[in-house]
Amino acid sequence: MDALVNKRIKQVLKGDQSAFSDIVNLYQHKLYQICYRMLGNQQEAEDISQEAFVRAYINLHTFDQKRKFSTWLYRIGTNLCIDRIRKKKPDYYLDAEVAGTDGLNMYSQIASKEQLPEETVQQLELQDRIQYEIGRLPDKYRSVIVLKYIEELSLQEISEILDMPLGTVKTRIHRGREALRKQLSNL
Protein backbone atom coordinates (compact mmCIF):
# COMPACT_ATOMS: atom_id res chain seq x y z
CA MET A 1 0.00 0.00 0.00
CA ASP A 2 2.85 2.36 0.79
CA ALA A 3 4.20 1.96 -2.72
CA LEU A 4 0.84 2.90 -4.20
CA VAL A 5 0.52 5.88 -1.89
CA ASN A 6 3.99 7.12 -2.76
CA LYS A 7 3.21 6.76 -6.45
CA ARG A 8 0.04 8.83 -6.04
CA ILE A 9 1.93 11.42 -4.01
CA LYS A 10 4.46 11.81 -6.80
CA GLN A 11 1.65 12.27 -9.31
CA VAL A 12 0.03 14.93 -7.16
CA LEU A 13 3.34 16.73 -6.78
CA LYS A 14 3.68 16.76 -10.55
CA GLY A 15 0.38 18.61 -10.71
CA ASP A 16 -2.10 15.79 -11.18
CA GLN A 17 -4.71 16.82 -8.65
CA SER A 18 -7.02 13.92 -9.42
CA ALA A 19 -4.43 11.43 -8.12
CA PHE A 20 -5.17 12.79 -4.66
CA SER A 21 -8.64 11.23 -4.66
CA ASP A 22 -7.11 7.75 -4.29
CA ILE A 23 -5.26 8.94 -1.22
CA VAL A 24 -8.47 10.33 0.25
CA ASN A 25 -10.24 7.10 -0.56
CA LEU A 26 -7.64 5.01 1.25
CA TYR A 27 -7.57 6.99 4.49
CA GLN A 28 -10.97 8.67 4.74
CA HIS A 29 -12.56 6.19 7.15
CA LYS A 30 -9.65 5.96 9.55
CA LEU A 31 -9.11 9.69 9.70
CA TYR A 32 -12.81 10.40 10.04
CA GLN A 33 -13.02 7.85 12.86
CA ILE A 34 -10.16 9.49 14.77
CA CYS A 35 -11.80 12.90 14.42
CA TYR A 36 -15.22 11.60 15.37
CA ARG A 37 -13.88 9.89 18.49
CA MET A 38 -11.91 12.97 19.46
CA LEU A 39 -14.70 15.47 18.84
CA GLY A 40 -17.80 13.39 19.47
CA ASN A 41 -19.76 15.16 16.77
CA GLN A 42 -20.37 14.02 13.22
CA GLN A 43 -20.52 17.39 11.53
CA GLU A 44 -17.40 18.65 13.21
CA ALA A 45 -15.63 15.37 12.51
CA GLU A 46 -16.49 15.62 8.84
CA ASP A 47 -15.39 19.24 8.64
CA ILE A 48 -12.11 18.66 10.46
CA SER A 49 -11.18 15.48 8.62
CA GLN A 50 -11.83 17.16 5.27
CA GLU A 51 -9.76 20.11 6.39
CA ALA A 52 -6.97 17.70 7.33
CA PHE A 53 -6.96 16.25 3.81
CA VAL A 54 -6.90 19.73 2.28
CA ARG A 55 -3.93 20.71 4.46
CA ALA A 56 -2.17 17.48 3.59
CA TYR A 57 -2.67 18.33 -0.09
CA ILE A 58 -1.37 21.87 0.27
CA ASN A 59 1.68 20.79 2.30
CA LEU A 60 2.36 17.58 0.42
CA HIS A 61 5.76 18.85 -0.76
CA THR A 62 6.92 18.90 2.87
CA PHE A 63 6.10 15.22 3.40
CA ASP A 64 9.15 12.98 3.61
CA GLN A 65 8.30 9.97 1.47
CA LYS A 66 10.61 7.71 3.43
CA ARG A 67 8.17 7.95 6.31
CA LYS A 68 4.71 6.57 6.75
CA PHE A 69 2.05 8.72 5.14
CA SER A 70 -0.68 7.67 7.58
CA THR A 71 1.39 8.87 10.54
CA TRP A 72 1.84 12.26 8.89
CA LEU A 73 -1.82 12.54 7.95
CA TYR A 74 -3.10 11.51 11.38
CA ARG A 75 -0.80 14.05 12.91
CA ILE A 76 -2.39 16.82 10.87
CA GLY A 77 -5.82 15.48 11.82
CA THR A 78 -5.20 15.15 15.54
CA ASN A 79 -3.63 18.61 15.71
CA LEU A 80 -6.69 20.11 14.05
CA CYS A 81 -8.95 18.23 16.49
CA ILE A 82 -6.97 19.42 19.49
CA ASP A 83 -7.15 23.01 18.21
CA ARG A 84 -10.87 22.69 17.68
CA ILE A 85 -11.43 21.26 21.17
CA ARG A 86 -9.50 24.15 22.71
CA LYS A 87 -11.45 26.76 20.80
CA LYS A 88 -14.78 25.12 21.43
CA LYS A 89 -17.29 27.16 23.33
CA PRO A 90 -19.68 25.33 25.65
CA ASP A 91 -22.81 26.60 23.93
CA TYR A 92 -21.52 25.87 20.46
CA TYR A 93 -24.01 23.12 19.72
CA LEU A 94 -27.15 24.99 20.65
CA ASP A 95 -27.13 26.64 17.23
CA ALA A 96 -25.58 23.80 15.29
CA GLU A 97 -28.08 21.21 16.39
CA VAL A 98 -31.01 22.48 14.38
CA ALA A 99 -29.55 22.17 10.92
CA GLY A 100 -29.74 18.88 8.98
CA THR A 101 -29.66 16.43 11.88
CA ASP A 102 -30.31 13.55 9.55
CA GLY A 103 -29.41 10.31 11.32
CA LEU A 104 -28.13 12.04 14.44
CA ASN A 105 -29.54 11.31 17.85
CA MET A 106 -29.29 13.76 20.68
CA TYR A 107 -26.25 12.07 22.21
CA SER A 108 -24.04 12.72 19.26
CA GLN A 109 -24.73 16.39 19.91
CA ILE A 110 -23.65 16.40 23.53
CA ALA A 111 -20.61 18.51 24.25
CA SER A 112 -17.88 16.19 25.40
CA LYS A 113 -17.36 17.63 28.86
CA GLU A 114 -21.03 17.66 29.75
CA GLN A 115 -22.18 15.29 32.48
CA LEU A 116 -25.35 13.29 32.10
CA PRO A 117 -27.52 12.10 34.98
CA GLU A 118 -26.72 8.52 35.95
CA GLU A 119 -30.05 7.04 34.92
CA THR A 120 -29.73 8.54 31.47
CA VAL A 121 -26.23 7.15 31.05
CA GLN A 122 -27.39 3.68 31.99
CA GLN A 123 -30.08 3.83 29.33
CA LEU A 124 -27.62 4.66 26.57
CA GLU A 125 -27.02 2.13 23.86
CA LEU A 126 -23.58 0.55 24.09
CA GLN A 127 -22.13 2.55 21.19
CA ASP A 128 -23.43 5.86 22.51
CA ARG A 129 -22.16 4.93 25.92
CA ILE A 130 -18.67 4.25 24.59
CA GLN A 131 -18.57 7.57 22.80
CA TYR A 132 -19.89 9.32 25.89
CA GLU A 133 -17.21 7.83 28.12
CA ILE A 134 -14.42 8.59 25.67
CA GLY A 135 -15.74 12.13 25.41
CA ARG A 136 -15.58 12.56 29.18
CA LEU A 137 -11.87 11.78 29.24
CA PRO A 138 -9.53 14.75 29.48
CA ASP A 139 -8.21 15.64 25.98
CA LYS A 140 -4.69 14.46 26.57
CA TYR A 141 -5.85 11.00 27.60
CA ARG A 142 -8.57 10.85 24.98
CA SER A 143 -6.20 11.18 22.05
CA VAL A 144 -3.88 8.36 23.19
CA ILE A 145 -6.76 6.03 24.11
CA VAL A 146 -8.43 6.60 20.73
CA LEU A 147 -5.22 5.99 18.81
CA LYS A 148 -4.29 2.96 20.89
CA TYR A 149 -7.59 1.11 21.31
CA ILE A 150 -9.76 2.28 18.45
CA GLU A 151 -7.16 2.76 15.72
CA GLU A 152 -5.00 0.04 17.28
CA LEU A 153 -1.75 1.84 16.54
CA SER A 154 1.58 0.98 18.15
CA LEU A 155 2.94 3.12 20.97
CA GLN A 156 5.80 4.16 18.71
CA GLU A 157 3.42 5.42 16.03
CA ILE A 158 1.32 7.25 18.59
CA SER A 159 4.43 8.99 19.88
CA GLU A 160 5.22 10.15 16.31
CA ILE A 161 1.67 11.27 15.60
CA LEU A 162 1.35 13.27 18.80
CA ASP A 163 4.99 14.37 18.68
CA MET A 164 5.76 13.37 22.25
CA PRO A 165 8.27 10.97 23.80
CA LEU A 166 7.35 7.31 24.12
CA GLY A 167 7.48 7.59 27.92
CA THR A 168 4.85 10.34 27.89
CA VAL A 169 2.60 8.28 25.65
CA LYS A 170 2.85 5.35 28.07
CA THR A 171 2.12 7.50 31.09
CA ARG A 172 -0.91 9.00 29.39
CA ILE A 173 -2.23 5.62 28.36
CA HIS A 174 -1.84 4.34 31.91
CA ARG A 175 -3.63 7.35 33.34
CA GLY A 176 -6.25 7.22 30.61
CA ARG A 177 -7.00 3.60 31.43
CA GLU A 178 -7.29 4.41 35.12
CA ALA A 179 -9.54 7.39 34.41
CA LEU A 180 -11.82 5.28 32.23
CA ARG A 181 -11.88 2.52 34.82
CA LYS A 182 -13.05 5.00 37.45
CA GLN A 183 -15.69 6.44 35.13
CA LEU A 184 -17.06 2.99 34.47
CA SER A 185 -16.92 1.71 38.03
CA ASN A 186 -18.76 4.72 39.41
CA LEU A 187 -21.91 3.54 37.73
Binding site: L13, G15, Q17, S18, F20, S21, V24, N25, Q28, H29, L31, Y32, Q33, Y36, R37, Q42, E46, S49, Q50, E51, F53, V54, Y57, I58, H61, L126, Q127, I130, Q131, E133, I134, I145, Y149, I150, L155, K170, I173, H174, R177, E178, L180, R181, L184, S185
Partner: protein
Protein backbone atom coordinates in the same frame (compact mmCIF):
# COMPACT_ATOMS: atom_id res chain seq x y z
CA UNK B 1 -5.61 -2.46 48.23
CA UNK B 2 -4.34 0.72 49.85
CA UNK B 3 -1.68 -1.42 51.46
CA UNK B 4 -0.47 -2.80 48.15
CA UNK B 5 2.63 -1.20 46.70
CA UNK B 6 2.17 1.20 43.78
CA UNK B 7 4.50 -0.83 41.59
CA UNK B 8 1.87 -3.57 41.38
CA UNK B 9 -0.42 -1.15 39.52
CA UNK B 10 2.53 -0.10 37.35
CA UNK B 11 3.14 -3.75 36.49
CA UNK B 12 -0.52 -4.10 35.55
CA UNK B 13 -0.09 -1.33 33.00
CA UNK B 14 3.17 -2.78 31.75
CA UNK B 15 1.34 -6.04 31.31
CA UNK B 16 -1.49 -4.33 29.41
CA UNK B 17 1.03 -2.54 27.19
CA UNK B 18 2.60 -5.89 26.44
CA UNK B 19 6.07 -4.82 27.48
CA UNK B 20 6.37 -6.37 30.93
CA UNK B 21 9.56 -8.23 31.86
CA UNK B 22 9.32 -11.87 32.88
CA UNK B 23 10.43 -10.95 36.38
CA UNK B 24 7.73 -8.30 36.83
CA UNK B 25 5.10 -10.57 35.36
CA UNK B 26 5.95 -13.28 37.89
CA UNK B 27 5.71 -10.80 40.75
CA UNK B 28 2.38 -9.53 39.47
CA UNK B 29 0.96 -13.04 39.14
CA UNK B 30 2.08 -13.99 42.62
CA UNK B 31 0.53 -10.86 44.04
CA UNK B 32 -2.78 -11.23 42.20
CA UNK B 33 -3.12 -14.76 43.58
CA UNK B 34 -3.12 -13.48 47.12
CA UNK B 35 -4.75 -10.04 46.79
CA UNK B 36 -8.39 -9.93 45.74
CA UNK B 37 -8.47 -6.11 45.59
CA UNK B 38 -5.72 -6.04 43.01
CA UNK B 39 -7.38 -8.87 41.14
CA UNK B 40 -10.49 -6.75 41.00
CA UNK B 41 -8.47 -3.75 39.81
CA UNK B 42 -6.85 -5.82 37.07
CA UNK B 43 -10.25 -7.12 35.95
CA UNK B 44 -11.66 -3.64 35.77
CA UNK B 45 -8.76 -2.47 33.65
CA UNK B 46 -9.17 -5.39 31.26
CA UNK B 47 -12.91 -4.74 31.09
CA UNK B 48 -12.26 -1.07 30.38
CA UNK B 49 -10.06 -1.98 27.44
CA UNK B 50 -12.59 -4.48 26.15
CA UNK B 51 -15.27 -1.82 26.50
CA UNK B 52 -13.36 0.74 24.44
CA UNK B 53 -12.36 -1.86 21.87
CA UNK B 54 -15.97 -2.82 21.35
CA UNK B 55 -16.51 0.58 19.74
CA UNK B 56 -17.94 0.02 16.30
CA UNK B 57 -15.85 0.99 13.33
CA UNK B 58 -17.06 4.26 12.02
CA UNK B 59 -16.96 5.06 8.35
CA UNK B 60 -16.80 8.46 6.74
CA UNK B 61 -20.13 9.85 5.53
CA UNK B 62 -21.12 9.37 1.87
CA UNK B 63 -19.53 11.58 -0.80
CA UNK B 64 -16.67 12.36 1.57
CA UNK B 65 -14.09 11.93 -1.17
CA UNK B 66 -15.94 14.21 -3.61
CA UNK B 67 -16.34 16.86 -0.95
CA UNK B 68 -12.63 16.83 -0.18
CA UNK B 69 -11.76 17.08 -3.86
CA UNK B 70 -14.07 20.09 -4.19
CA UNK B 71 -12.39 21.80 -1.27
CA UNK B 72 -8.89 21.47 -2.72
CA UNK B 73 -7.46 24.74 -3.97
CA UNK B 74 -7.44 25.04 -7.75
CA UNK B 75 -4.00 24.31 -9.09
CA UNK B 76 -2.98 27.87 -9.87
CA UNK B 77 -0.24 28.59 -12.33
CA UNK B 78 1.62 30.59 -9.78
CA UNK B 79 1.61 27.72 -7.32
CA UNK B 80 2.71 25.34 -10.04
CA UNK B 81 5.57 27.60 -11.00
CA UNK B 82 6.64 27.98 -7.40
CA UNK B 83 6.64 24.22 -6.98
CA UNK B 84 8.63 23.83 -10.16
CA UNK B 85 11.11 26.47 -8.97
CA UNK B 86 11.59 24.65 -5.73
CA UNK B 87 12.24 21.37 -7.45
CA UNK B 88 14.65 22.62 -10.11
CA UNK B 89 17.06 25.07 -8.50
CA UNK B 90 19.85 24.29 -10.97
CA UNK B 91 17.72 25.06 -13.99
CA UNK B 92 16.69 28.33 -12.36
CA UNK B 93 20.31 29.21 -11.69
CA UNK B 94 21.22 28.38 -15.28
CA UNK B 95 18.30 30.44 -16.58
CA UNK B 96 19.29 33.47 -14.54
CA UNK B 97 22.87 33.13 -15.70
CA UNK B 98 21.75 32.80 -19.30
CA UNK B 99 19.58 35.89 -18.93
CA UNK B 100 22.51 38.03 -17.87
CA UNK B 101 24.74 36.48 -20.47
CA UNK B 102 22.29 37.11 -23.26
CA UNK B 103 21.77 40.67 -22.13
CA UNK B 104 25.49 41.21 -22.52
CA UNK B 105 25.52 39.50 -25.88
CA UNK B 106 22.48 41.29 -27.27
CA UNK B 107 23.97 44.63 -26.38
CA UNK B 108 26.95 43.75 -28.55
CA UNK B 109 24.85 42.19 -31.32
CA UNK B 110 25.61 43.88 -34.60
CA UNK B 111 23.15 46.54 -35.53
CA UNK B 112 22.69 47.67 -39.08
CA UNK B 113 25.69 49.97 -39.00
CA UNK B 114 28.59 49.18 -41.21
CA UNK B 115 31.93 48.85 -39.49
CA UNK B 116 35.35 47.51 -40.22
CA UNK B 117 38.54 46.96 -38.30
CA UNK B 118 40.79 49.89 -38.99
CA UNK B 119 43.89 48.64 -40.67
CA UNK B 120 46.21 50.71 -42.82
CA UNK B 121 46.07 50.11 -46.56
CA UNK B 122 42.42 48.94 -46.57
CA UNK B 123 40.19 50.62 -49.10
CA UNK B 124 36.64 51.29 -48.03
CA UNK B 125 34.20 51.87 -50.85
CA UNK B 126 30.67 52.43 -49.57
CA UNK B 127 29.90 49.20 -47.77
CA UNK B 128 32.59 47.24 -49.48
CA UNK B 129 36.03 46.78 -48.05
CA UNK B 130 38.84 46.00 -50.43
CA UNK B 131 42.23 44.55 -49.72
CA UNK B 132 44.06 45.94 -52.73
CA UNK B 133 46.16 43.76 -54.97
CA UNK B 134 49.79 43.72 -53.98
CA UNK B 135 49.14 44.99 -50.46
CA UNK B 136 49.75 42.98 -47.28
CA UNK B 137 47.40 43.66 -44.34
CA UNK B 138 48.98 42.65 -41.06
CA UNK B 139 46.39 41.69 -38.45
CA UNK B 140 42.79 40.45 -38.30
CA UNK B 141 39.96 41.97 -40.28
CA UNK B 142 36.39 42.02 -39.05
CA UNK B 143 33.71 43.46 -41.34
CA UNK B 144 30.20 44.04 -40.06
CA UNK B 145 27.24 44.63 -42.40
CA UNK B 146 29.44 44.90 -45.44
CA UNK B 147 31.27 42.90 -48.07
CA UNK B 148 34.94 42.14 -48.17
CA UNK B 149 36.87 41.74 -51.37
CA UNK B 150 40.33 40.31 -50.99
CA UNK B 151 42.69 40.89 -53.87
CA UNK B 152 45.89 41.15 -51.87
CA UNK B 153 47.26 39.35 -48.83
CA UNK B 154 45.93 39.18 -45.25
CA UNK B 155 48.29 38.08 -42.51
CA UNK B 156 45.62 37.15 -39.98
CA UNK B 157 42.00 35.98 -39.56
CA UNK B 158 39.13 37.28 -41.65
CA UNK B 159 35.60 37.49 -40.28
CA UNK B 160 32.60 38.80 -42.19
CA UNK B 161 29.39 39.36 -40.29
CA UNK B 162 26.17 39.85 -42.26
CA UNK B 163 27.97 40.20 -45.52
CA UNK B 164 29.76 38.42 -48.29
CA UNK B 165 33.37 37.71 -48.75
CA UNK B 166 34.97 37.50 -52.19
CA UNK B 167 38.43 36.37 -52.98
CA UNK B 168 40.44 37.00 -56.10
CA UNK B 169 42.82 34.36 -57.44
CA UNK B 170 45.74 36.41 -56.25
CA UNK B 171 44.58 36.63 -52.65
CA UNK B 172 46.30 34.99 -49.71
CA UNK B 173 44.87 34.70 -46.19
CA UNK B 174 47.16 33.18 -43.61
CA UNK B 175 44.52 32.82 -40.88
CA UNK B 176 40.96 31.52 -40.84
CA UNK B 177 38.12 32.87 -42.94
CA UNK B 178 34.67 33.04 -41.45
CA UNK B 179 31.30 34.28 -42.59
CA UNK B 180 28.67 34.80 -39.94
CA UNK B 181 25.02 35.32 -40.83
CA UNK B 182 22.90 33.60 -38.26
CA UNK B 183 22.24 34.86 -34.76
CA UNK B 184 23.42 31.67 -33.18
CA UNK B 185 26.64 31.66 -35.08
CA UNK B 186 27.08 35.18 -33.94
CA UNK B 187 26.49 34.16 -30.32
CA UNK B 188 28.92 31.32 -30.69
CA UNK B 189 31.48 33.64 -32.15
CA UNK B 190 31.03 36.14 -29.31
CA UNK B 191 31.34 33.43 -26.72
CA UNK B 192 34.51 32.05 -28.25
CA UNK B 193 35.80 35.57 -28.45
CA UNK B 194 35.05 36.12 -24.76
CA UNK B 195 36.72 32.86 -23.88
CA UNK B 196 39.80 33.92 -25.85
CA UNK B 197 39.88 37.28 -24.11
CA UNK B 198 39.57 35.46 -20.84
CA UNK B 199 42.43 33.17 -21.69
CA UNK B 200 44.52 36.09 -22.80
CA UNK B 201 43.86 37.75 -19.48
CA UNK B 202 45.56 34.91 -17.70
CA UNK B 203 48.34 34.52 -20.16
CA UNK B 204 49.40 38.09 -19.70
Amino acid sequence: MSTCPQYIVDYMHEYLDGDISREHEQQLKNHLQVCSDCRQHMHELSDTIAFVKSAAHITAPPYFEEKVMKRLPKEKNRVGIQKWFRRHPIIIAAAVFFLFMSAALVSSYPNDEFSVTTQPNLIVNGQTVIVPEGEVVKGDIVVKNGDLVIEGEVDGNVTVINGGQYMASTSVVTGQIKEIDEVFEWLWFEMKDMANDFKALFEE
